[in-house]
């Protein structure tokens, strides 16, 4: 089990990093989404793996429970990473609509031209 989880984290990270290094906004956003999955699972796994030991206290008697703290932290992390993805998507969309290009790199020569045009205007 541990091997599967660790390798899944590794695969998600590798895929995320590869997409992160692409040149257009959409793959980069997908890459970030993959990376957030990897990070969330990684944080969750820091509580070590357990089966059938949900951190829901039994009403009667003693039970054994998995570590609840990473779960609580990851829960908010999932929601926050949604917020982050949403903001990124909007920025990417806005950049595309403004510039009519979804490239993430700025061509140095192009940017200098822009500066000059801005200065002359």
């Amino acid at each position: 089990m541990e091997i599967l989880i660790a390798s899944a984290i590794g695969v998600l990270t590798a895929g995320g990093v590869y997409l992160l290094l692409r040149l257009r906004t959409f793959p980069v956003i997908l890459g970030l989404a993959l990376l957030s999955y990897a990070v969330n699972v990684f944080l969750f796994a820091s509580g070590r793996l357990a089966i059938d030991q949900s951190p829901i206290l039994a009403r009667y008697g003693e039970g054994s429970y998995t570590d609840p703290l990473p779960q609580a932290l990851v829960l908010t992390a999932i929601v926050i990473s949604f917020g982050m993805t949403a903001v990124l998507v909007m920025i990417g969309l806005a950049a595309y609509l403004e510039a009519d290009s979804d490239r993430i790199d700025i061509d140095p020569v192009e940017s200098r031209d822009d500066d000059q045009r801005g200065g002359a205007a």
Binding site: F44, S54, A86
Partner: protein, 953 residues
Amino acid sequence: MNDQGFFLFLISALPFLGALLPGIMIRAGRNACASFTAVPTALALVLLMILAPAVLRGEVIEAEIAWLPQLGLSVSFFLDGLGLLFAAMILGVGLLITLYARFYLSGEDPMGQFYTYLLLFQGAMLGIVISDNILLMLIFWELTSLSSFLLIGFWKHLPEGRQGARMALAVTGSGGLALIGGMLILGQIAGSYQLTEILQQGDAIRASEWYLPALILILIGAFTKSAQFPFHFWLPHAMAAPTPVSAYLHSATMVKAGVFLLARLWPVLAGTEAWFYIVTTTGLITMVLGALIALFKDDLKALLAFSTVSHLGLLTMLLGFGTTAAAVAAVFHILNHLTFKAALFMTAGIVDHETHTRDIKRLGGLRHLMPITFAIGTIAALSMAGIPLLNGFLSKEMMLEEASHTVWAGSALAVPVLATLGALLSVAYSLRFIVHVFFGPKRDDYPHKPHDPPFGLWASPALLTVLVVLIGVMPWLAEGIVTAAASAVTGADLHPHLKIWHGVTPALWMSVIAVLGGAVLLALHRPLDRAWTLAPRPEAKAIFDRLVAAVVALSCTITEATHNGAISRYLAIFVVAAVALGAAAFAGSGLSATTRGLLPVPPVIAIGWLMLVVACASVVILHRERFTALVLIGIIGLTISAGFAYLSAPDLALTQISVETVTIMLLLLALHFLPKTTPAESTLARKARDGVIAVAAGGGVGALAYAFLLRDISTISQFHLDNSYEGGGGTNVVNVILVDFRGYDTYGEIIVLGIAGMVIYALVHALVGGPAGRRLRERDYSQDLSRDRHPLMMVVVTRVLMPIAIVVGAYIFLRGHNQPGGGFVAGLVIAIALLMQYMASGFAWTQARKRIEYHTMIGFGIIIAGLTGAGAWLSGTPFLTSAYTYVHLPPIEEFELATAMFFDLGVFLTVLGAVMLMLYSLSRIARLAGETVNAEAMDFDPADRVIDQRPGA
């Protein structure tokens, strides 16, 4: 703290508090504005006068509040003789300048702004002279640089004003940096940042090996501020400021800050060879050079500026001598220079104001047209020349006396001769100020017909001129303050006697030579001026500009090399660096033995893993087909949520599955406006490079995860398990952690989520108004659209689902404290139900039925959560401590009511509001892009017979 200490605090705070007034009072008119500027200044001056008798008796008034004691930083002030002298000068002249500026500034100048800047500057300057803590003093020091920048550049429309302000800021600001270094070293040597303690340790500081670096750094700070050679060039360029600013900053206050610092640290720094040679020589050169340039300046204010440079050099030289008598002379001259130089600046301002020119070559003969100005200017200028019975004479005699027996590098003549030369040049330019402006024939080609200004404009310089004469005739008047200040500077108990007649001394002869020589020079001015114009000399401004250009070019080169706009390159560097750091850390320390065994793998889980890996690989391979990639991302997310469910994390599974749904919806909507495919533009080499980086990163993270999964660590989690039910009243430990143990984190996180929603809303708002909005309106989407955009089946199903979803949401919310669920999940579930309505029937139709704004929902969510947390204060417990009780209502089972539930309600509302606001914002783009707005719930409504009966339908 006693009353006196409290007064001292008030004095330091009044200018800053008062700075708020002018900006408001300008609405009530210019007189009201000026009066309200005068009030805090006058009040501070009155308080200072109340404290003055005690200080003159030799007491030191102290006041202290700890600020950051860990850093040795405290808000502590002390007032001794030197501080009193400077504070009185700052406040007294401040009051006069306030009056003068009221009449000097024209109707078009924003007077409220001016007075606000003036008071800010005044407060900063006052802070320097009464600070006890040197860190605090540094803060005020920088504040004077900043506020003087605003004042010098007050006339923003003048390029000279802007350039002068920038130059002053650059020079004094970089000097300030050096000063910070010097002061920190000084504090380290002395073991304290309290000035009063540092001043006790002169011997230890002078003996330290760090003495020389500290001295040089502090001197750079002082010399840049006080415009000493070779940093003198900024002061004349700062003359582009309005004249009240020049009169205030450049005669009385800011430029004296450097001299003040030299005087303040005199007991610990002075008396060594290094001090003597650096300070005396710099002062001497500055004095002679400044006076020489002043003689050939045609701009009245430039002449005065260089004369100020020269007099500051004189003061620096006196402090450099390191004798107590020289220190007395310096203190006395500080006072005298203030009186005549401020009066002269204001006179120059009046001449400029009345004739509309400051060019000496275009002036002359003004004594008949402006008799009052003539009288004021002449008396003040004669004092500057050092003519007997005026105060300038007294301190200049003392300076010459000290210079006459100073030996410089074995030469007994160097200092006396150069000092006499400086005095001679000083006489020459002072006389030139009088003769070339006021004497000579009356002209008829002034740019504006001059006459004496109104009383308000000449009152301030006149008052200063009265002081010039009074001190000049009755020097014992100033004895009290000079004694107190000089004693504070030297740390010795001094009793100087200020006299007009010292007998026939060498100084008297030097004075006579200076006056006669100065008169001769003035007579020869015309030929000398021609020679000066022809002589080559370095232009400081050009050198400075070239230096700035070189620095800018250098930083451009560095920036363009490292920050070239290619984000993918930065990201690659970042990932590689992170992997390298991780590898380095790992290589440094081996692994401990494993403590955990492996869990078994059931077949279903193995299939799930395979799905995830295949989906992930497919995303990487197929990512250019964006829609396919999105579907695959959805598969990955769902697999992960199934994994959470299997690995004892039901809350995470619920959250992941609902977040996944919302994320995919969001990306789908965004993809609607983006290109549907990614062009192939990476070379094979680049793909290989990225692949290597990706595999290295993935391998590293995977190995790390595997390593810690097999080892146990000690955690604090048992505490949460033990106290969840007893303390938090819930059995779902994850939820109790979220709303109780770590409620403050959650509170922060919902605020972040709310902000993210607002950011997106604002972004879209800005977007639709800009060029992108125009582009959207012109865009043609007709081919993208399905003909049946709002299908009947979907509309009906989502309508039926809506109440069910709400019930489910409420159920998940209510049980959250004890069973998997809670505010986060409930918010997402309801958001999805609402989104389904939007998708089924269109945004316009749904929007028209919406009752509550999403912004309001976010706001209420945060307020409710915050109020719940604050409610804990009522019972005297810390923020967000929850309380709970059990309630029994007959038809329902006994249930629990915890305050944490209200907090969770806040979470619920914020999450719902934020998610909806984000997607709603996207829909605004869609509507702008010319999509048809639907008024009906579905496109083809079978209940609507009219469509059916239409012929041909």
